[in-house]
Structure formats: structure tokens, C-alpha cells
């Protein structure tokens, strides 16, 4: 007789733990949170893109019955501006946003005043009665135009990001040829289906400030709020409920989060704020908008000798929590999967009179992948080879791994940890049936159709440290709780963490619940961003689960009078390795035996639990290939995406179904940015995309069937399971692949220089209007 097989869960597409309540309408999203006696906040926003505030008269609003309070800047002047979370540069501090506009407004949507009332409809009515007089000032709408003045002589160029290595000038001087392009990416953003929301509550008896509706980085936001109000982390807590999509934008600290908390403290009543969609589109972070002037030095075979890039990043009205993150990542990640002997990037961060910017899924990489891959296609055209060949010639070979880039970003040196880029390219081409596809395209062209294919390759980054903590506890009822400092924005964190815990501990998947985003449950935590959770929290969970297993077996060995190395845990039951039967025990019984006061505990800490921290100084670098096939309508210029394939090396997949879901969802967002979505403005800085009727997100009709190939050719050497992240690889190269496919369909290499590609532009190109 032998012991029953241990269930394997890591690598399996198990169904999600999250789904039950969400499918039954039992989710707890921000708008679903209510407290007795709560009041409602409404923000009065600037209707001018740039102007001097002459006066703010709150009296007419305050006169309305049911209005509890109203504030303008002078009421909140004691609260410091919102600080930076990542990529801090000291010179940027002067450009931070105050929670209400001080003496100037800098974008349409800039918060000028707030009103608090007994009812949300009433708060909205009252907000319309706040009299704001603004003297309009000239606007800056182009980041690459002249530098203007922010205030007090501060220039609107807030910083210059410089990254370089090797002798770029010498490479250009000695080059066979150079290729030069100007490329731009439009302004778009994550736009989750749930708008932002925050509920502040102050409990006077315990002097406890609470905020509900937190997401992404609850611990950081807790520390910041405490600091801004002169409180401590110990009497400030943030709680994450369900979050209706993150994508970078949701969960960063915004003026509204601070305002609800401040109001809860001052007014002594719970304060609820739920954003409406128009507000979301003009007030929550925008992203992406950049213009690049890039050139490559090449040899006669199309090998790249150097890349030199100068770009302008349109940050909008203020520097928000991300400070220099997006342009920094754009500059650091631009070299991608290629051997680039010499490299120079200079990124100008410029303020304009638009909604301030932050990160959006694959921040800086969606942009720089578009730019780099356009450059590769241009190099191919220059030397007369195809897009596949030019990539093959320039890819970093597996024999050179790991590669140190001599660049740094997010406080880490870029060391490409592992990767076989050429192999993945082969798999992608195989997957789509490249040569058959080219033959079909040829046939269809002969019949007069405009059809083409394009490729985009990229390196992603994931698993940003420096740490993550996990504590696993078994209750006397056998329920297992995994407390993490992670956050969930809907990506399946609970499932993935439970899979790892169940397998490593030997417990049932259903017995496990995963706690995230609750600052009162764990002292520190970094949350969910930069595709970090599976890697960092995942590895911390593995370690804690193995420790817990040891602890449980040590106790079981004493209780059962058997050596621990003859025992194992399967489905929460202690079993004998030799398969012999006899009295058995469950984890619940061991937990019970370890209760406070029991003999077994002695002078140790009671309870069946274990803790672990995982620290990591370097990120892991997954990579991928996108292939797009498009056809163009001659009459309308409409672009139909006929086929789409993503090949992605994940290192080690915990749940392939979830990775597939992340990738397909990312592709849909990438397509939005490539073809449909754009925050455009008129020449006074009035936003033109303020509803879902103008900001066009893809629907079920626009998103094609996406074929996903997940490979595990290059496990990360930085963690024992070999994990890399999956959050951003679906979005990363969509702009690049779509642009290449449209070029190919047009038969005009290099025709697409700007995203999104509108039907008007395609029609102009079809009709030969440059």
C-alpha cells in the first residue's frame, strides 16, 4: 500500500475562488459600501483648461437645506499636496497637485471646491450653485512645443530623463546608414468599468480613521494619508473591497481620497464619494501620450549599432503619484529584446493643460514598443529584408543570457534574467502558420483586397520587489487563512495564492481564503502593480506554506508518536508515507492541539501558523511576440483585425486559464489604443471625450478571437518556481503589431506613424494623400 498521490495545483487551470459572490451579485464594490448617517461628497471642477481663480463663493450652495458643508482651497490649505509613490525626483516636488486648486486651475476637471450633503442628488444640485469665477489664461496643449510657465517662473518642462550607455555618436559616425522616424502615441487610459469611489469614516471612540474603496496600494496610501493628517499608520486603516478593474489607474491616491477622509475627520460623519463617468474621463489619470524622434545606426546587413531617441511626454496639469515613472520606463525598456550596442534616450517631461497622467497597463512599454518595432520595420525596409529577418538578426541570443543592460528603472538595475527570444518567435510564426498566411495574403491581394500582417516583439518586466510578506494560519475549524500585503484588482489573486498554498502545504484548495488589501491585518504590503503579485506574493506564500507544513508535521509527530519524515499532509489530513493505516489527524486537530495553554505549545507561540517574507532586488523579464492580420475597407478606411496571436513566455504558469484571460484582456485594451480610443481636446483645452459615446472602447464586435501560446521556456532564476508576471504582455505590442499590419496591407512601409490609427487616416493613405 502506498500513500495517496499529492494533488498538483500549480500549473492547473482551476476555477476561480473569486467568482461565486461576483456571479451572484454579492460583490462589495465601493458604491456598495454604506454606513449609517453617511453624507455624500460632490466635487466642483474647473470648466477651464487654464485660468486664475478670481473667487469661489460657497454661500449659495451652503444655503440649500441638506447641505452640510462646502470647502474651497482656503479650507484645506493646511493639507500638503499629494506626494510621489514611485520614481521620485526632487525637482518634481513643486509640481504636485493640491487636493483643491489653490490660485490657478490647470485642466478641465481640476477640483476647485467640494460640497457635502445629505443625499447624492442634492450634493450634485448644490455643487452647481457654487460660484466659481475664473480668468482664462492661454493654454499649452502640445508637449513638444515651446516650454511655458507652470507658476512662479517654474518651467513646464519638469524634468529631463536621460539614460544611455555605449558610444552612440561614434556608432552613428561609422554607420552604413541611419534610419530616422518621428512617431507618436495618443492619449488614452485604463478606464475601468467601475468608476473610482471612496468612503471615509472616523470612529472617535477609538480615534480610528478608515477609508473604504481602497485598491492597488492600500498600505502606501494609508501611510500617506496618516502623514498628511499628522496621524500614525496605527490609527489609520484602508480597506479594499471588490475592485472593478485596475489597469494602473485605479487605487493611486487622488485628491478625492484625501478629501473624503478629511471630511470624515472634520465633520464626524461617514463621507461617501462615487465618481460619475464624465468625472472619471476628465479627472482620473490619463496616460501614454508621447512623441518620439528616434534614429538607428545600422550596418549593411541591418544590424543595429546604436539607437538614439528623444521624446516628449505629455504629463498634463500636474505631477501625480507616479512622478517620472512612465517616461522612465519608456526610456529604460525601449531596447526590448534586441542587442543594442550603444543607446541614448532623452525624455522631456512636460506639463500641459490636460488631465494629469499616470500609469496604464504596460506603462512606457506600449509606447516604446510601438516606437522600437516601427524602427525595426523601417530598418528592414531600408536594407530590403522582411520584418521577421530583421528581428532574427538583432535578437539577443539565448547564449548571452542573463544580460545586464547598464540601465536602471524603478530603483532596480535591468538584468534580463532569462529568455530564448528567437525560439518564441519561431513558435509564434508556427502558431499562426506564417508561410501559409503569407501565401493567402498574396492571393487575396491579387484579388484586390487590402490585407496585411505585422509582428511586434517585446520584453516585459514583472515581479517588482523589494519584499512581500505572507502569514498563513490554520483555524481550529480547519479553515486556512492566507494574509498578504497584496491587492486585487480583479486579476484572480485569491485563486493563484490559494493554488500555491494548497499544493505546498498539502491542504484543500477550498479550505483556503486569501486576505488582501486590508491594512489592519498585516503591517506592511506593496499591493498590486507592475505585474508583481504572482511572483512576489506567490513566492512568499510558497515559503510560508512549506514552513507551516514543517510546523504541522513536527506537532503531528509528537502527537502521533511517529517520526516527522514518515508523515505527509494530503488534503489537510496527516498521512503516513508508507501508506499504513492507523489513527490519523487533520490540520484542524493539530491547530486545536496548539491552542493557547495546551501542553504541546509549552513556551512557544500558540497556534498553527507560519510567516515568510520574500525579498528580491531585481525584476523578472517575461517576453512575447504579437502577430496581427488586418484588412482595410477601401471606401471607409475601416480596419478589421482578422486574426491575432500572442506568444508569451511566462517562466512558469500557475494558472494557464488566468494567464490566457490576462493576455486576451490586454490585447483588447491594446486594440483600443491602436485603433479607437483617444482623449482629444479642442484648441481651448476642452476635453472632447467625456462619455463612452466619444471615448470608444472596443466591444465584442471589435475584438477578434485571440490565439494565445503560453510557453515556459525560460523560468526565472530569481525565484524557485521560476515565476514571471502576466499582467501586461497582452497590451504591450498591440500598437506595434497593428501598425505593421496596416503598413503591410497598404503596401506602404512606414506609413503609420501615430496611434490610434483612425479610419480617416487609413482612407487618406489608401487614396495616396500623405
Amino acid at each position: 500500500m502506498s500513500a495517496p498521490a499529492k494533488p498538483v495545483l500549480v500549473g492547473k487551470s482551476v476555477l476561480r475562488k473569486e467568482d461565486g459572490p461576483l456571479l451572484r451579485g454579492q460583490g462589495r464594490f465601493a458604491a456598495d459600501i454604506n454606513f449609517p448617517d453617511q453624507i455624500y461628497m460632490r466635487v466642483v471642477r474647473s470648466t477651464y483648461a487654464h485660468g486664475r481663480i478670481v473667487s469661489v463663493d460657497l454661500a449659495p450652495a451652503l444655503a440649500i437645506p441638506g447641505v452640510v458643508a462646502a470647502w474651497s482651497f482656503k479650507d484645506v490649505a493646511d493639507i500638503p499636496p499629494i506626494d510621489f509613490r514611485l520614481t521620485r525626483l526632487e525637482q518634481l516636488a513643486a509640481y504636485r497637485q493640491t487636493i483643491l486648486a489653490k490660485d490657478k486651475v490647470r485642466y478641465v476637471g481640476d477640483p476647485v471646491a467640494v460640497v457635502f450633503a445629505e443625499d447624492p442628488y442634492l450634493a450634485e444640485d448644490a455643487a452647481e450653485h457654487v460660484d466659481v469665477e475664473i480668468e482664462e489664461l492661454p493654454v499649452i496643449l502640445h508637449a513638444d512645443g515651446e516650454v511655458g510657465e507652470f507658476r512662479d517662473g517654474l518651467p513646464t518642462e519638469t524634468a529631463l530623463i536621460e539614460k544611455n550607455y555605449g558610444d552612440v555618436d561614434a556608432a552613428f559616425a561609422g554607420a552604413h546608414a541611419t534610419v530616422e522616424l518621428t512617431l507618436s502615441i495618443g492619449r488614452h487610459s485604463g478606464v475601468p468599468m467601475e468608476t473610482r469611489g471612496a468612503i471615509g469614516r472616523y470612529i472617535a471612540e477609538t480615534d480610528m480613521l478608515e477609508m473604504y474603496g481602497a485598491a492597488k496600494v492600500p498600505h502606501w496610501n494609508r501611510d500617506q494619508l496618516a502623514k498628511m493628517f499628522g496621524r500614525t499608520a496605527a490609527n489609520t486603516n484602508l480597506f479594499e473591497g471588490h475592485v472593478g478593474g485596475g489597469f494602473g489607474i485605479r487605487g493611486e491616491m487622488y485628491p478625492e481620497d484625501v478629501l473624503v477622509c478629511l471630511a470624515a475627520l472634520r465633520l464626524g460623519r461617514p463621507v461617501k464619494w462615487i465618481e460619475d463617468r464624465r468625472e472619471h474621463l476628465i479627472a482620473a489619470n490619463h496616460s501614454r501620450q508621447q512623441t518620439h524622434h528616434i534614429r538607428a545606426a545600422i550596418d549593411i546587413n541591418g544590424n543595429i549599432l546604436a539607437i538614439d531617441d528623444e521624446f516628449f511626454h505629455d504629463q498634463g496639469g500636474y505631477m501625480r503619484t507616479h512622478a517620472a515613472t512612465v517616461p522612465d520606463l519608456a526610456a529604460a525598456m525601449l531596447p526590448g529584446p534586441y542587442r543594442i550596442p550603444a543607446y541614448r534616450a532623452r525624455g522631456h517631461i512636460r506639463l500641459t493643460n490636460k488631465t494629469p497622467g499616470g500609469t496604464y497597463r504596460a506603462p512606457g512599454r506600449y509606447e516604446s514598443t510601438f516606437v522600437r518595432e516601427r524602427l525595426l520595420d523601417a530598418v528592414a525596409a531600408k536594407v530590403g529584408i522582411d520584418g521577421v529577418e530583421v528581428r532574427r538578426r538583432n535578437l539577443i541570443p539565448v547564449s548571452e543570457m542573463p544580460v545586464t543592460r547598464a540601465l536602471e528603472t524603478l530603483g532596480t538595475d535591468i538584468v534580463l534574467d532569462s529568455g530564448d527570444y528567437a525560439k518564441l518567435l519561431d513558435k509564434a510564426l508556427d502558431g499562426i502558420g506564417w508561410s501559409t498566411l503569407l501565401a493567402q495574403i498574396d492571393e487575396r491581394r491579387k484579388a484586390g483586397e487590402l490585407v496585411g500582417a505585422g509582428i511586434g516583439m517585446f520584453v516585459e518586466k514583472s515581479g517588482l520587489g523589494p519584499f512581500d510578506d505572507v502569514r498563513i494560519t490554520v483555524g481550529i475549524d480547519g479553515k486556512i487563512e492566507v494574509v498578504t500585503g497584496a491587492a486585487s484588482v480583479g486579476q484572480g489573486v485569491e485563486t493563484v495564492i490559494a493554488q500555491i498554498c494548497a499544493e505546498k502545504l498539502g491542504a484543500g484548495y477550498d479550505a483556503i481564503s486569501v486576505i488582501h488589501g486590508q491594512t489592519d491585518r498585516i503591517a506592511r504590503g506593496l499591493g498590486a502593480f507592475a505585474s508583481r503579485v504572482s511572483v512576489m506574493t506567490g513566492e512568499a506564500t510558497r515559503q510560508a506554506a512549506l514552513k507551516l507544513r514543517d510546523n504541522a508535521l513536527a506537532a503531528a509527530s509528537e502527537l502521533m508518536q511517529l517520526p516527522a519524515d514518515q508523515l505527509d499532509i494530503i488534503n489537510g489530513e496527516i498521512v503516513r508515507l508508507d501508506g499504513s493505516t492507523g489513527p490519523s489527524m487533520s490540520l484542524a486537530e493539530i491547530a486545536k492541539a496548539l491552542e493557547p495553554g495546551s501542553n504541546l505549545v509549552g513556551d512557544k507561540e500558540p497556534g498553527l501558523f507560519a510567516e515568510a517574507s520574500f525579498e528580491s532586488k531585481h525584476m523578472t523579464y517575461p517576453y512575447g511576440v504579437h502577430v496581427a492580420v488586418v484588412s482595410l475597407a477601401r471606401d471607409t478606411g475601416g480596419v478589421t483585425v482578422e486574426r491575432y496571436l500572442v506568444a508569451y513566455d511566462i517562466g512558469k504558469a500557475i494558472n494557464p486559464m488566468l494567464i490566457d484571460g490576462q493576455i486576451v484582456g490586454g490585447v483588447a485594451q491594446g486594440l483600443g489604443g491602436a485603433l479607437y480610443e483617444e482623449f482629444s481636446y479642442d484648441d481651448r483645452g476642452e476635453p472632447l471625450a467625456v462619455t463612452f459615446a466619444d471615448y470608444l472602447m472596443p466591444t465584442a464586435r471589435e475584438v477578434p478571437q485571440v490565439d494565445v501560446i503560453i510557453t515556459e521556456d525560460a523560468p526565472s532564476p530569481l525565484n524557485p518556481m521560476g515565476l514571471k508576471g502576466a499582467g501586461e504582455g497582452g497590451a504591450n505590442a498591440v500598437g506595434a503589431a497593428i501598425a505593421a499590419a496596416i503598413d503591410d496591407a497598404l503596401g506602404q512601409p512606414g506609413a503609420i506613424t501615430r496611434l490610434p490609427v483612425s479610419p480617416q487616416r487609413v482612407r487618406e493613405l489608401i487614396n495616396g494623400i500623405a
Binding site: L15, R16, E18, D19, G20, L22, L23, R24, G25, Q26, G27, F29, A31, D32, Y121, D125, G190, V191, P192, M193, E194, T195, H242, V243, G244, G245, G246, F247, D276, R277, V489, G490, Q491, G492, M657, L658, D660, G661, V664, G665, G666, V667, A668, Q669, T691, F692, A693, M697, T699, A700, R701, V703, Q705, V706, G730
Partner: protein, 159 residues
């Protein structure tokens, strides 16, 4: 604005006697006055479909209807799909096909799909995609939603 009226919203068979202003949307009344927060609000102008419920069997965007217009009508929301512990075929299909990530759009898609299939069980796959394209999802890229609804349709046809 104090033109409040007494109305009765019958949600999943249960009558809720409430008093609302004329301008109160059905979505807000379902969520706030009747406490059924499974119906979500994503845009309040009829584009995203997160607020879709069934009114007398028809999928309706509850943000575009006033609560008073639904007085006395039969309303079904996501909370009424499952029978106790047993999920509706459509809910199960969404779970098995990973048709949701954050789950915010999900109640709207479930009600849209159930409403359409209850009226037109033999709807073609092509028309189904057309119908589903009237709601927005920002997480899934739709593929798995389409798969889930097709799988549920097959099961609904068999039973």
C-alpha cells in the same frame, strides 16, 4: 426637488414599497431604496450596460429608466438568477469559461444574455455576438464571455 411618489418595485418576486423623486433612476432605486447592489452603474448614460436588468422579461438599461416608470412591473436582477445554492446555467457557464475577471460588468452581461436567450433560444452565434456587443467589459476581451453564453445557450436548448 421634492415631487416624491409612492411606488412598488417588484424585484425577483419581492415587492418593495418605496417613495422616490420623479428623477430617481431605476438603477439607483434598485440599489439604494431596495438594497439590491448586484446591479452596477458604469456610465449612467446608457452605453455600458452594467446596469442591465429585466423588466417584464426585456433587457433594460436601468440607468435610462426612471424608477416611477417601473412601478408595478416585474423586475429581475442578478440576485434572482440562482436558486439557493444552485447557480443559473448562465452563471455556471461564466465561471467554467472564465467569463469574468473583476466582475463589475458581469451582472449586466448575465441579465442581457439570460433575457435574450429566454426570448430567442435559437439565436444564431453571429446575432449573439451582436447582442453582446451592446455591453462593455474592460477586463476579459469578450472572448470568454461569448464562449460562456454559447455554452449556456446549448445547455438551455437541451433542457
Amino acid at each position: 426637488m421634492t415631487d416624491k411618489s409612492d411606488i412598488t418595485l417588484t424585484i425577483n418576486g419581492k415587492a418593495h414599497a418605496i417613495r422616490v423623486e420623479a428623477r430617481r433612476t431605476l438603477a439607483d432605486a434598485i440599489r439604494e431604496e431596495c438594497g439590491q447592489t448586484g446591479t452596477h452603474i458604469g456610465c449612467e448614460h446608457g452605453v455600458c450596460g452594467a446596469c442591465t436588468v429585466l423588466v417584464n422579461g426585456e433587457p433594460v438599461r436601468s440607468c435610462l429608466m426612471f424608477a416611477q416608470q417601473a412601478d408595478g412591473k416585474q423586475i429581475r436582477t442578478v440576485e434572482g438568477l440562482a436558486r439557493g445554492d444552485e447557480m443559473h446555467v448562465m452563471q455556471r457557464a461564466f465561471m467554467e469559461n472564465h467569463g469574468l475577471q473583476c466582475g463589475f460588468c458581469t451582472p449586466g452581461f448575465l441579465m442581457l444574455a439570460v433575457g435574450v436567450l429566454e426570448r430567442e433560444l435559437d439565436i444564431s452565434d453571429h446575432d449573439l455576438v451582436d447582442v453582446l456587443s451592446s455591453n462593455l467589459c474592460r477586463c476579459t476581451g469578450y472572448q470568454n464571455i461569448i464562449k460562456a453564453v454559447r455554452a449556456a445557450a446549448i445547455e438551455m436548448r437541451q433542457s
